[in-house]
Amino acid sequence: MIEVLYFAWVRERVGRPRERVETSAATVAGLVEELRARGEGHAAAFADTAALRVALDQDLAEFDAPLAGVREVAFFPPMTGG
């Protein structure tokens, strides 16, 4: 089980801030494929992964990163702090 978190407009499109996901995906990209299939909101949120960023266990990562051992995956748009 992986904890998947959503922020900003990704959260708004998915319709929830987090969910627990049972996955056998090997990489983030594989997980994204599975999440897209969950419904319209998910499909809209993940329509263009170039517009998204991902963090694995609270560190920024790439979409081809392996998921092995990861407990928390977060998806969000480019950050706009400061």
């Binding site: 978190l5 922020f7 900003a8 407009w9 959260r11 963090a55 609270q58 560190d59 920024l60 977060a74 969000f76 748009p77 480019p78 950050m79 706009t80 702090g81 400061g82």
Partner: protein, 147 residues
């Protein structure tokens, strides 16, 4: 090195004063304040700042540690708010202290460039006629390449 992530307002002037007070070790103190700006010239009701609890503190501490590694700094302070902020309110600040001004300026700019694009905050502008997420600016991403 002091990092604070909070919903509560803070007093930018008082923080600057306390940061600079009684420093005999550092000749230069630089501070930056980011303020909720009404880009449309009226009509902005608030800026809503979302963040990723846990990762936020971790990311800021990492950025501050990198600044300390790159420059000889006597001290570093980062405060960043989240939640709903009215126009004119201070969103965040950084302050750096160093022997000479070049290091204090460079470290403050480095911190700001990385906090902008690598700390997990997202801004949403709330206006009477609707709300919209602030888009990341290409020049903010490009600014990272200079370090």
């Amino acid at each position: 090195m002091h990092v604070r992530v909070q919903a509560e307002p803070f007093d930018f002037g008082a923080e600057c004063g306390a940061f600079a007070a009684g420093r005999c070790d550092a000749g230069a103190v630089v501070s930056f304040a980011g303020i909720v700006r009404d880009r449309r010239g009226g009509g902005l009701e608030a800026m809503e700042i979302e963040h990723y609890p846990g990762m936020t503190e971790r990311a800021i501490a990492g950025i501050a540690a990198e600044a300390v590694r790159r420059w000889s700094l006597a001290d570093v302070l980062v405060i960043h708010r989240h939640g709903r902020l009215p126009p004119g309110e201070v969103i965040m600040m950084v302050a750096t202290a160093a022997a000479h001004r070049a290091a204090a300026f460079a470290a403050a700019e480095f911190l700001m460039d990385y906090l902008k694009s690598r700390a997990p905050f997202w801004k949403k502008e709330i206006a009477a006629d609707g709300a919209a997420w602030v888009a990341a600016r290409d020049e903010d991403e490009a600014a990272l390449s200079r370090w």
